[in-house]
């Protein structure tokens, strides 16, 4: 019994001389508090546009607005159906002036990135005109191939759909790829009449989906 009492007394003495909490200590020259860090990791996806850099091609500047909408802007300047005006873009003159269309076109870059996606076997990158020009003589076109190959003629372009999303990339895994170069243009029809030469704006929505 005496031995037990002495043991308890010794234990009490030990407790009295040790620290009271993890942030403070007495009769000591060291203390070690802890910090618990909590985090929730979410999947994320990013698609950014850049000004093109293809050699021998006109580069209309892609400008990030910093605003929620539109995210980027590009200005083709003054265009005409005879491909007379010179702008930032390259141009294809009409095959038959006054009959067939002219196309002003430029390259641009798409940078798709994503992380913490559980499945990466199927991705899609599309473009769709979600707000069209108000004039009947201009429309937006894209390089039909969607491979980065530089268009050689008017026939290498096709209209960007206003009704559905057009695929513009066919690579298996888009993440981490170097910027994808694509081409976009303004098709100008040889029409005449009132109200066909006003300043107009259209919006293209690019969509990256990772499944």
């Amino acid at each position: 019994m005496k031995r037990i009492s002495l043991a308890i007394f010794a234990a009490l003495l030990t407790m009295a001389s040790t620290s009271f909490a993890a942030t403070t200590a007495t009769n000591s020259n060291t203390v070690a508090p802890t910090l618990q860090v909590t985090v929730k990791v979410q999947p994320a996806v990013s698609l950014t546009l850049l000004t093109g850099t293809t050699a021998g091609v006109g580069h209309c500047t892609v400008t990030a607005t910093g605003a929620p909408s539109p995210d980027y802007t590009m200005d083709f300047g003054n265009v005409d159906a005879l491909a007379i005006a010179n702008t930032c873009a390259s141009k294809f003159a009409p095959t038959t002036p006054g009959v067939t269309d002219a196309i002003y076109w430029t390259d641009y870059q798409l940078v798709p990135v994503y992380t913490s996606q559980s499945a990466t076997g199927s991705q899609s990158l599309t473009a769709q005109v979600t707000a069209n020009f108000g004039l009947g003589n201009v429309s937006l076109v894209r390089d039909t191939a969607g491979t980065g190959a530089v268009p050689a003629a008017v026939g290498d372009f096709s209209p960007i759909s206003t009704a559905s999303a057009d695929p513009i990339a066919t690579v298996a895994d888009l993440d981490g790829k170097t910027p994808l170069t694509r081409f976009i243009g303004v098709d100008v029809q040889p029409k005449s009449g009132a109200g066909l030469n006003a300043s107009q704006t259209a919006t293209v929505t690019f969509t990256l989906t990772v499944n």
């Binding site: 009271f20 909490a21 993890a22 942030t23 403070t24 200590a25 007495t26 009769n27 000591s28 020259n29 060291t30 203390v31 070690a32 508090p33 802890t34 910090l35 618990q36 860090v37 909590t38 985090v39 929730k40 990791v41 979410q42 999947p43 994320a44 996806v45 990013s46 990135v113 994503y114 992380t115 913490s116 996606q117 559980s118 499945a119 990466t120 993440d175």
Partner: protein
């Protein structure tokens, strides 16, 4: 009638000048006699008043125990340190004043007088054994003595402080005063640890302008003990995440991703090779007292890594933009500073690195890690 006749005969016998002088002496005698008697009484009482006649000290409700002993009073403050950490002695409250700790308690004081009101002064009559390590403070009766702000130091050079201020109180009045010991931060050569036999406060009752009794209160029934103390706290930076003071501290980075997109309030996302770092400023506050060095070393290590340690790890930097250093598992450590001074504030940046990876299990609802910060003052 006879008396009057005789009086007239006796007083009418001398000349006019003598008669006038005789009347003046008679009036002075008549009025000064009580004053002489009162002064004589005060002097007699002062000579013969025993401790406790005109002033009594007693334990206040919930306060430190006051005992009468040897014609005076005693109390005990027990074990103290400069940071007010740990549990103070029974009946005492310990408050960290930023440059030391104040251990204080209310005390009941009953004042008696001979004539009218009396007031009480206090002086520090016997210093502590370690005057640089301990100082006596008091709180006057016209203040709330349950808060540290109303206490002030007693002069150590013979000055007196009114603890029951003039004009004083009526006889038999019981007031509440406060007594305290201040333990300043002392590090380096001035560090003191060990026992101190306590100093003595002398209280003097002043009545009708004269001291009528002095009583002593020794601030140590048994020796008080000065101990060393060390503290390390973490705190939020106004522009950073909130550091919650919970077992011991916690911080929530919220939703993050390997692209550094959409950094929440208090976070800055910094692009890194292979992922992103979410950085937040925070504050490290060391404090220590009665240790031999004036500077300490602070380190940090990962006590418990993230479950997804291949994707997440914590990093440390001295600047928002880095460079960041990965905080290793404990066993190894990142040194934050080896010149941490007492009561200093160190702003540091805690980075959460997240890898940009895809595949099953690369996003999850929650993960956590535990960091251990250690301060050692040699």
């Amino acid at each position: 009638m006879r008396t009057n006749t005789l009086h007239e005969v006796e007083t009418n016998t001398p000349g006019a000048a003598q008669r006038s002088a005789g009347r003046g002496f008679s009036y002075a005698k008549r009025f000064l006699q009580p004053v002489f008697l009162f002064v004589s009484l005060l002097i007699s009482l002062q000579c013969f008043a025993r401790g406790g006649t005109f002033l009594q000290l007693a334990t206040a409700p919930g306060g430190v125990t006051i005992t009468a002993a040897g014609g005076g009073y005693r109390t005990s403050f027990g074990t103290m340190n400069g940071l007010a950490v740990g549990t103070p002695g029974a009946g005492l409250t310990a408050t960290d004043l930023g440059n030391g700790a104040l251990y204080f308690s209310e005390v009941r004081m009953t004042v008696n007088t001979i004539l009218g009101q009396g007031y009480v002064t206090a002086s520090f009559s016997t210093p502590f054994q370690h005057p640089a390590a301990l100082a006596a403070w008091i709180c006057p009766s016209n203040s709330s003595c349950n808060v540290a702000a109303n206490y002030s130091a007693l002069s150590t050079s013979g000055g007196v402080t009114n603890i029951v201020p003039p004009p004083g109180v009526n006889s038999g009045t019981t007031v509440t005063i406060g007594i305290a010991i201040f333990v300043p931060d002392n590090d380096g050569a001035s560090a003191v640890t060990g026992n101190d036999n306590g100093g003595t406060i002398t209280f003097t009752v002043v009545n009708a302008g004269l001291p009528i009794e002095s009583d002593t209160l020794k601030l140590a029934t048994s020796p008080n003990k000065i101990q060393s103390a060390v503290e390390l706290t973490l705190d939020s930076d106004p522009s950073g995440l909130t550091i919650n003071p919970a077992t011991d501290y916690s911080v929530d980075y919220g939703n993050v991703n390997g692209l550094g997109i959409g950094a929440g309030a208090g976070l800055t996302a910094i692009a890194q090779a292979g992922g992103a770092i979410y950085s937040t400023p925070y504050r490290i506050k060391p404090a220590f007292s009665d240790l031999r060095s004036t500077t300490g070393t602070i380190t940090v290590c990962t006590q418990t890594a993230f479950a997804h340690s291949a994707i997440l790890n914590m990093q440390d930097a001295s600047a928002s933009a880095g460079p960041f250093t990965a905080i290793p598992n404990c066993g190894a450590r990142v040194q934050i500073t080896n010149t941490a001074s007492d009561r200093s504030t160190i702003t540091r940046y805690l980075g959460l690195f997240i890898s940009k990876v895809n595949g099953p299990g690369t996003s999850f609802a929650s993960d956590s890690a535990v960091l251990t910060y250690t301060i050692t003052v040699p």
